[in-house]
């Protein structure tokens, strides 16, 4: 007997076609006893659209479901042979704590969250003294998951010690790192868990007003978290003995720098999101002058677990200075992209090869921590994931973006890409960030065009540390990291661009030609038909002066007769 059918409808699922699947199931299943509901994301994004069928006894998943009779049949007959298999390489390494309920429960059902133990930690915390709560969080060793890694309990104690008419608590949900989607997934899939963590923090610190600063590009996350807030108001979960807690969701407006706490406060106040000098720290002087504490979504999502287990138990998992688990948004050149939750201390190689299914030998590096982070080359993949080990390699834990870079990608171009991002997002306050990143970007563009010299490489090595030194906030202080870390590990690629005017990965358009091998060619004319600029002649020769290197012909050629080659090597 089927009880419920759950369709994974977080942003990633919807993009893969889950809405059509849900609609099809609703139209074609007329059994009133079967409930069809929307759930969040279980993290196996590569397998979307995902459907989970719940029976009295068990539950099974179907992956890559299409809105067809065939799949309907499989679902209704609970066909175990067609069920999705969870690879042991992943299951045995993952540790689902924070994401335990993600994608398994209806995100906007208060009752279902309660059924799964929700708000029990808050109840437990209500019976504790504020100092006791903070002590548990300190004992747990929980550190900020937004990137900085500051001890959460210590931060809380700063706010708790303040005497003020109002105290402010902000949840940083401005997940701006391109390539990161941990916070989005948590807010879409288990919004109540984020709220529970925030309310426990309010109890411990005496905060009176709570804000969630969310990225405007995350409409579903905002919708779900707002629904959840309405529900806790309705059930009076936000009513404490001495005060009633208000939670307001504020949408950001597209500025990466607003992830920095002082910039975020300015933005919440209705100003340009410029960071300011610290001290005073926000816990001394924050939103509208009141003491203010900022933690990110993942940090808050950990709090109910800390309180439930107790700090000591929580601290059993992880390494000496990094406790608990970390969520990673795994994407790039690998087979199984998605959201993973692993215990601190697992190696990067285990995440990339075993969980992600990337091919050994075909991976050059990972970029960890987004544009603020650095790259880690494959030869260091045995390093454990914790705050300190990553830093010693010139990268950072960051918020959790983990992009796998395949061996066919150019590292100079990758560095240029990240710097282009930070250059655009620099708020312009500090000279070294505003102009320094711009000069670095121009230099990288020169190199990728084959116009660079050895002086340019020296210039990058000289200017990078200066930008770090002379910038006020995290954006400028980390912006040169992608360049400096690629220079550290992949200098040979820079040298090839500069000395031989060659892009070893054949990615930089200005340094490659398109070559059609007439011996392999079967004259099917697919390339000629598809070329957007008519660069291929009727006798199958590519005119590289006209060609825009769009790669269309390389992709459509059925016999791989067309390839990218070093500029001037074959055609000239």
């Amino acid at each position: 007997m089927i009880k419920r059918i759950k369709v994974g409808m977080a942003s990633c699922g919807i993009a893969a076609g889950a809405s059509e699947v849900k609609k099809f199931l609703q139209q074609n299943i007329d059994d009133e006893n079967i409930e069809i509901i929307e759930v969040g994301c279980i993290g196996h994004c590569y397998a979307e659209p995902l459907v989970e069928v719940e029976t009295e006894k068990t539950s099974i998943f179907f992956d890559q479901v299409e809105p067809t009779e065939e799949y309907l049949e499989k679902i209704l007959s609970v066909d175990k042979n067609s069920a999705m298999t969870f690879r042991d390489e992943r299951v045995s390494r993952e540790k689902l704590k924070v994401t335990r309920l993600a994608g398994r429960i209806d995100p906007v059902s208060f009752d279902e969250y309660i059924e799964h133990g929700g708000y029990q930690s808050l109840e437990k915390a209500r019976k504790m003294q504020p100092e006791e709560i903070i002590k548990e969080v300190k004992t747990s060793g929980l550190r900020g998951r937004g990137g900085g890694g500051f001890p959460t309990g210590l931060k809380w104690s700063f706010l708790a010690a303040k005497e003020a008419e109002k105290k402010i608590l902000i949840c940083n949900a401005d997940e701006g790192d391109p390539g990161a989607f941990m916070d989005r997934s948590m807010m879409e899939s288990v919004p109540h868990q984020v709220l529970e963590g925030m309310l426990i923090a309010a109890l411990a610190t005496g905060a009176t007003e709570l804000f969630i600063y969310a990225r405007a590009e995350y409409p579903l996350a905002v919708k779900n978290i707002n629904k959840a807030i309405d529900q806790i108001y309705e059930h009076k979960v936000n009513v404490f003995d001495d005060r009633v807690i208000d939670i307001t969701v504020k949408e950001g407006a597209g500025a990466f720098v607003c992830g920095e706490e002082t910039a975020m406060i300015h933005s919440l106040e209705g100003n340009r999101g410029n960071p300011r000098f610290r001290p005073p720290y926000p816990t001394d002087e924050g939103y509208k002058g009141y003491p203010t504490l900022i933690n990110n979504v993942e940090s808050f999502s950990n709090v109910p677990i800390v309180i439930k287990e107790g700090g000591k138990k929580y601290a059993e998992l992880g390494t000496e200075n990094s406790k608990g688990t970390k969520l990673f948004a795994l994407a790039g050149d690998l087979k199984y992209a998605g959201l993973v939750e692993v215990p601190m201390g697992l190696t990067i190689g285990e995440v990339v090869y075993d969980i992600g299914g990337a091919q050994r030998g075909e991976v050059k590096a990972v970029q960890i921590g987004g544009p603020s982070g650095g790259c880690i080359p494959a030869e260091h993949f045995d390093v454990p994931i914790d705050y300190d080990s990553l830093e010693s390699l010139g990268a950072i834990m960051g918020s959790g973006g983990l992009i796998v870079i395949g061996s066919n990608r150019c590292m100079v171009e990758t560095a240029r890409y990240f710097l282009e991002f930070t250059t655009k997002e620099s708020c312009g306050k500090c000279t070294f960030c505003r102009i320094g990143t711009k000069r670095m970007l121009e230099t990288l563009e020169k190199i990728t065009k084959g116009e660079g010299s050895m002086d340019d490489i020296e210039f990058l090595e000289d200017l990078g540390p200066k930008v770090i030194e002379a910038s006020l906030c995290g954006l400028g202080q980390t912006a040169p990291n992608p360049v400096l870390s690629t220079l550290r590990y992949f200098k040979d690629e820079y040298l090839a661009h500069v000395k031989d005017k060659h892009c070893p990965a054949l990615q930089c358009n200005d340094l490659v030609d398109i070559f059609l091998d007439q011996e392999t060619c079967i004259e099917c004319r697919q390339c000629i038909k598809n070329c957007p600029v008519d660069a291929i002649s009727d006798d199958f020769v590519v005119d590289n002066d006209i060609c825009t290197r769009c790669n269309t012909c390389v992709e459509v050629c059925p016999v791989d007769a067309i390839s990218r080659v070093k500029r001037g090597e074959k055609n000239g």
């Binding site: 790192d177 407006a253 973006g401 598809n530």
Partner: protein, 149 residues
């Protein structure tokens, strides 16, 4: 402006106000800036200063179909610059521009958060993933056929 009436005249609501106007009109006109400044009783230049800081706000009218080309890390690695170029060739508009018939506008955005489906674009909020040139042009053609309706 009637739209802003329910909004408390506190400076911290300024960004919310600009967002509300943009949601309603699709962009922020010079007239709208004046009305927002009146609502909060702050100078026009302050409103302009705040809205020009944030990438979300548009000062010119977007197309009926708003195409956002994701240039997040995962999409970039999977060739989002090519995706953008295909659109530039097809629609004859560049980043931030609108086609002459007012049907399409295009902009590149930092990350749509659908990294596992890279490369992706979104059109009026609907995300299309795992794109190649053929698939993309087909999608654009479908929107063209829908036309103005």
């Amino acid at each position: 402006m009637q739209l802003l009436e329910p909004l408390e005249k506190d400076r911290s609501n300024l960004i919310k106000a600009i967002q509300m106007v943009q949601a309603e009109k699709g962009f922020i006109s010079t007239q709208a800036i004046k009305e927002i400044s009146d609502h909060f009783g702050i100078p026009v230049v302050e409103v302009e200063g705040v809205l020009s800081f944030y990438a979300q706000f548009k000062r010119s009218k977007p197309g009926k179909y708003k195409i956002a080309v994701c240039d997040g890390t995962a999409c970039h690695i999977k060739g989002s610059s090519r995706v953008k170029n295909w659109l530039v060739e097809e629609l004859k508009i560049d980043d931030g521009e609108t086609t002459e018939d007012g049907l399409f506008s295009m902009e590149t955005v930092a990350c749509l958060g659908c990294c596992s489906l890279a490369p992706v674009v979104s059109i009026n909020g609907k995300v299309y993933g795992n794109l190649n040139r053929k698939k993309l042009l087909k999608i654009i053609k479908d929107y063209k056929n829908r036309g103005d309706n």
